[in-house]
């Protein structure tokens, strides 16, 4: 296994790129694009599960792209250990579920939807596997460019404000990353992570360059002083796209922070207080922003920021337990957040609004969505039967172990606020009575999104005796029928799958905890990583 797998690693980037191009070339056939996209994503998932199995004992797989034998450090290394194979696996699951959701909302019918998603996946796989910081920059761009397209595709309906801010801030962060890479190359003479092992801890000049790199990546991860862009762009596109992005861009940046601090700084404890200060602020300000918002998606987006704070505590502690807890939190959070975006997104897609004031009574109308949301919300707040409890418990345990009582206090306090704002969504959207104009609003939204013909077909599917007449008559027939507007099953399933996974990770936390522990071990002792790259 250890001999066969490494030369296959570039396929994780190559296959989605190739399939994305194929999907873009198939102009007419929607069905072929759906099949290509889901097939490729499933193949990636299968490959990443294989990688998780191969690395679960702490093995590091490394491959020199292009087989540069005469000079090992020249080539770009692709390295896979327990951490990036786990992140890749979860991202593949999120990719599949959000593509399913987009197919249900008909967004995936757009010609470039599937190609963009596949190229995004290629960028993600590359950014996770690469062992070279300039190549990391390139793959982050490969990941971002299709995202601009995806964001703007839906953004056109909402004005381009979101896309403009998103592109500007990300280009600024990328340019800053390029500055940092230039400084690292100028001072250290290489951009290969394995060769940079521990160099930033020894030499302040290299540390400054590395700090610029980390700052740029922190902008992309939206930690608190630089979080505003995320809260103003993620709600400005379609729910399917937000759900896809929620688990990818910021999380790949978090992975890069973990990796770079582990290898380049060798976990140097002189700078950890900065990380702890920033993460505490991130947790607190993120959740306070969430309480103040008025639509489901903007609440959830502010929560993302707060949770990013929790995840980064792991790197701020840099102990075995701290890193394990941080990695577990990262994996748990990607699943839960996407589940929340998908379940509230299903309501938004059906009823045409995510505003808490304009919705109500969904618990009776849509019991399945309500259950899905409830599970994910309780998991996010950290209640016992779900994975969020294990994640928060181990994070707090790790902070107390290092005697950082104020960080632990913030983490506990923020959980209370998290529950508070989740209850705000619950009370506003799911409890009470539905407003009078709910159905009218939903129907006019459906008409605007899908056209009158679509509505007629829907009405006929629900009531087969109905003959297709002029649109107005049909629509009044839909209106007069009891519960004419309902979230279709295919919109519920993707969120429910993810909610089931968080229950599974809560009850069977042992499995994921063990894998996170191996991943933390690899970060704590980057020697294995370095040796694997040099001997590959």
């Amino acid at each position: 296994m250890e001999e066969i797998l490494p030369p296959l690693l570039p396929l994780l980037v190559g296959i989605p790129l190739l399939m994305g191009a194929l999907g873009a070339a198939l102009r007419k056939s929607k069905r072929a694009r759906h099949i290509i996209s889901l097939g490729t994503l499933s193949a990636l998932l299968a490959f990443s599960i294989l990688l998780v199995i191969a690395t679960h004992d702490g093995t590091v797989l490394a491959h020199r792209v292009g087989f540069w034998d005469f000079a090992p450090q020249i080539a770009i290394p692709f390295v896979v250990d327990a951490l990036n194979s786990l992140v890749l696996m979860i991202i593949c699951i999120l990719g599949i579920t959000s593509v399913m959701f987009a197919m249900a909302t008909h967004e995936a019918r757009a010609r470039f939807y599937h190609p963009f998603v596949l190229i995004l996946m290629a960028g993600v796989a590359g950014a996770l596997m690469t062992g070279d910081i300039f190549n990391l920059f390139v793959f982050i761009e490969v990941m971002l460019l299709p995202s601009y397209g995806l964001l703007a595709m839906m953004g056109a309906k909402l004005g381009a404000h979101g896309a403009r801010i998103y592109v500007s801030v990300n280009l600024l962060a990328s340019t800053l990353l390029l500055f940092g890479i230039g400084l690292v190359y100028a001072t250290a003479g290489t951009v290969n992570l394995a060769e940079l092992h521990g160099r930033a801890a020894e030499d302040p000049a290299i540390a400054v360059g590395a700090a610029v790199v980390l700052t740029a990546i922190s902008i992309k991860a939206a930690v608190v002083p630089v979080h505003g862009w995320l809260t103003r762009t993620y709600p400005m596109t379609s729910p399917a796209v937000t759900a896809l992005f929620s688990g990818i861009h910021t999380k790949v940046s978090i992975y890069a922070i973990y990796r770079i601090y582990s290898v380049m700084f060798d976990g140097d404890d002189r700078f950890l207080w900065i990380a702890l200060l920033v993460t505490s602020l991130t947790m607190l300000i993120g959740v306070l922003g969430a309480i103040g918002e008025k639509t489901t998606r903007s609440i959830l987006v502010f929560h993302m920021i707060s949770q990013i704070g929790y995840i980064l505590i792991g790197v701020g502690l840099f102990t075995g337990l701290g890193l394990t807890a941080g990695i577990f939190y990262l994996l748990h959070h990607m699943i839960v957040k996407a589940s929340l975006f998908l379940s509230t997104g299903a309501i938004e897609e059906t009823y045409g609004t995510g505003e808490i004031d304009k919705l109500g009574g969904m618990a009776k109308r849509e019991p399945l969505i309500a259950a899905t949301f409830m599970i994910a919300a309780l998991s996010l707040a950290g209640l016992p039967p779900f994975s969020g409890f294990v994640a928060k418990f181990s994070i707090i345990q790790a902070t107390l172990e290092q005697a950082h009582y104020w960080v632990a206090a913030v983490a506990v306090l923020v959980s209370v606020f998290t529950l508070l704002s989740m209850l705000k969504i619950w009370v506003g959207v799911f409890m009470g009575k539905p407003p009078e104009d709910l159905e009218d609003r939903a129907l006019s939204y459906q008409e605007r999104m899908h056209g009158k013909r679509y509505l007629r077909v829907q009405a006929q599917a629900e009531n087969p005796t109905l003959t297709i007449g002029p649109p107005t008559a049909t629509m009044s027939a839909v209106l007069s029928g009891e519960r004419a507007v309902k979230v279709p099953m295919k919109l519920i399933i993707p969120g429910a799958i993810l909610a089931a996974i968080t229950v599974f990770f809560g009850l069977g936390a042992e499995l994921l905890m063990m894998l996170s522990e191996t991943a933390a071990e690899n970060l704590l002792n980057p020697q294995d990583y370095v040796e694997a790259v040099i001997n590959s």
Binding site: A160, I165, L171, T175, R232
Partner: protein, 115 residues
């Protein structure tokens, strides 16, 4: 030193342009910022070596470092593609490229799209 001065001036101009009203000025700011980053990458390869780094054209120790040149070549293409996209964003959507009205919250815009 001359490269440091050039990078500093480009960065200062870029930061000034980012703060301006109008999307096209912001795009120009990004063009300058990526110029600055590219010059910095060149400087990272030690500008004391001025020779052409093609094989058989310069003696060892005279030719420039080829790696930063490859970095810059890659970065130029990436920045170019994003600049194209930003210019397109500047001319689509609203009547002009004004960025001042973007002080609206997502909730407001979503409500506006809703009615």
């Amino acid at each position: 030193m001359s490269i440091a001065i050039a990078v500093g001036m480009l960065t200062a101009a870029a930061v000034y342009l980012f703060m301006q009203r109008g999307m096209v000025r912001i795009v120009l700011g990004f063009v300058l910022a990526s110029h600055a980053a590219n010059l910095l990458l060149f400087a990272a390869g030690n500008t004391a070596y001025r020779g052409v780094p093609y094989i058989f054209t310069s003696e060892y120790g005279e030719g420039g470092d080829p790696l930063p040149q490859a970095f810059v070549l890659t970065a130029i293409v990436i920045a170019f593609s994003i600049t194209m996209f930003m210019v397109t964003l500047a001319i689509t959507t609203t009547g002009d490229d004004d960025t001042e009205d973007e002080e609206e919250s997502p909730a407001k815009v979503l409500t506006a799209a809703d009615t």
